[in-house]
């Protein structure tokens, strides 16, 4: 049974991530030609790059730097492709959906368990908009501080997986209490790499307000000491014709 919290059976250690031969020149030329004919409209809708951190929901000591590329559906809803770096060779490690407080509070309590709040990571300067002056970003930060996210991680690169293995992992957001606090070395590494000072960001964001999550099931681990893992389970498939 493949589970999101299980270490996968021996994955060829030491292989490049991901393994595989580099692109041949011939293929690159075909790709360019075909690419020009296709519109790729949905992926032109990504207009914000956010850099932050996420914690595995079943083991908060496992923490990763994340790069979200977000596309807006409306004022209350963003859909984001999440990568492990901002380089072109970055791995697609999952998807996060970001919704407003209004939308979140209407979700059934059972569904809310799968969501996390963003106020702490915005106010503490963990969440950054690379290259965008904080002043410009201010209104959006106000919105983000009042939003909630649902983040499924499909590729656990941080544990050395050279390919996406197992079930998706539910991710949680950094919080101001342990085990939800981001390790200083991880933060420093990100800050140095991206030319950011999260301390300065925190200072400039003092007036940003979060939301009251009392009575909700956001950040479930904080109130209940329980996280969530996913298991893949064999089952009877409902058929319309024989399979496979």
């Amino acid at each position: 049974m493949a589970s999101s919290d299980e270490i996968p059976a021996a994955d060829a250690a030491g292989r490049p991530t991901p393994p595989g031969n580099p692109m041949s020149v011939g293929r690159t030329v075909i790709d360019k030609g075909a690419e020009m004919m296709q519109s790729l409209k949905p992926v032109r809708q990504f207009k914000q790059h956010l850099c932050s951190f996420a914690l595995y929901g079943h083991d908060l000591s496992r923490q990763i730097e994340t790069h979200h590329y977000c596309a807006r559906i409306n004022q209350d809803f963003l859909q984001c492709a999440v990568y492990n770096s901002d380089e072109s060779r970055a791995q697609l490690i999952g998807v996060e959906y970001i919704i407003s407080d209004d939308l979140f509070k209407k979700l059934p309590l059972d569904e809310q368990k799968l969501w996390h709040s963003h106020a702490y990571e915005v106010k503490s300067g963990l969440l950054a908009s690379p290259h965008v002056p904080d002043m410009l970003e201010r209104r959006e930060l106000d919105n983000l501080a009042k939003s909630y996210g649902k983040f499924w991680c499909t590729w656990q690169v941080d544990r050395g997986d050279s390919l996406p293995l197992g079930a998706p992992a539910l991710m949680m957001s950094p919080q101001g209490v342990n085990p939800g606090m981001v390790r200083p070395d991880l933060l420093k590494k990100r800050d140095d790499k991206c030319g950011i000072s999260s301390e300065q960001l925190e200072a400039s964001r003092v007036e940003i307000e979060g939301v009251n999550t009392a009575g909700t099931n956001a950040d479930y681990w904080m109130k209940h000491g329980k996280g969530f893992a996913l298991d893949v389970v064999e089952t009877m498939m409902k058929l319309r014709t024989p399979f496979p």
């Binding site: 075909a34 569904e111 904080m222 996913l230 089952t235 409902k238």
Partner: protein, 227 residues
């Protein structure tokens, strides 16, 4: 098309937000996104329910010759919903996977040879080389948003998705709808793709759920609140 049927609740984007995003889109870097260069249209069904079938638009980038990562949408227009991800790997990479992992991956041979999987708006002759390669790959797909059951938001657990492996599995109305919209004929393309072959070693018996249904279940685990 599924995209048109489900409205995401929420207020229209404010002018201020739209202006900000025009600015951020211009100032920031989008390197991983800019690498997405290919649109593939195909169909998935739910790993525990073949009767639930979804048109899936893949927007893919190559990590290298043998591995692709794709964002899956329910359509290709403005407002299309990001409903999942798929990873495509070569046969060689698939064979090296642990046996426990293999059932989570599906073969592409049938979809390609039947014409169901195609690159919209790319002339058949141009995409044929690409299809020859895809025919030999395996894919792993999770959907997070069940638009086919009318969910206005991405609710519930991820769903492991599977690909069609035989004639008769895909609903005819879904197929015809795609053919009409894209001006393609799966029958004609099937003829042109007759020469294509699947994985050199044949479809692995553990692929495609090892022939069984697969579903994801949530389990609670203890989190120690002590630092």
């Amino acid at each position: 098309m599924a995209s048109a049927q489900v409205d995401v609740p929420g207020n229209p984007t404010s002018t201020g937000t739209a202006l900000l995003e025009t600015a951020t889109a211009a100032i920031q870097g989008f390197h991983p996104i800019n690498k997405i260069h290919q649109h593939l249209c195909a169909f998935h069904f739910y790993g525990d329910d073949m009767t639930r079938q979804v048109e899936a638009h893949h927007f893919c980038s190559h990590q290298n010759e043998e591995m692709r990562q794709c964002l899956i949408y329910d359509g290709e227009e403005l407002g299309a919903k990001l409903i999942g991800v798929e990873y495509l790997i070569s046969e060689a990479l698939f064979l090296a996977l642990p046996d426990e992992e293999k059932p989570l991956w599906h073969s592409h041979e049938y979809e390609v040879k039947s014409g169901l999987l195609f690159m919209p708006r790319v002339p058949a002759a141009v995409q044929r080389k690409e299809m020859e390669q895809v025919s030999k790959t395996y894919g792993k797909t999770y959907h997070f948003w069940q638009v086919d059951r009318g969910d206005h938001l991405p609710l519930g657990l991820p769903q492991l998705m599977m690909a069609f492996t035989q004639d008769g599995q895909l609903r005819q109305d879904l197929a015809t709808d795609v053919e009409k919209r894209y001006g393609v004929s799966f029958e004609e393309e099937r003829e042109m793709r007759k020469h294509m072959t699947g994985p050199d070693q044949g479809i692995h018996p553990l692929a495609n759920g090892a022939g069984k249904g697969q579903r994801l279940e949530l389990r609670e685990v203890d989190i120690s609140l002590v630092a």
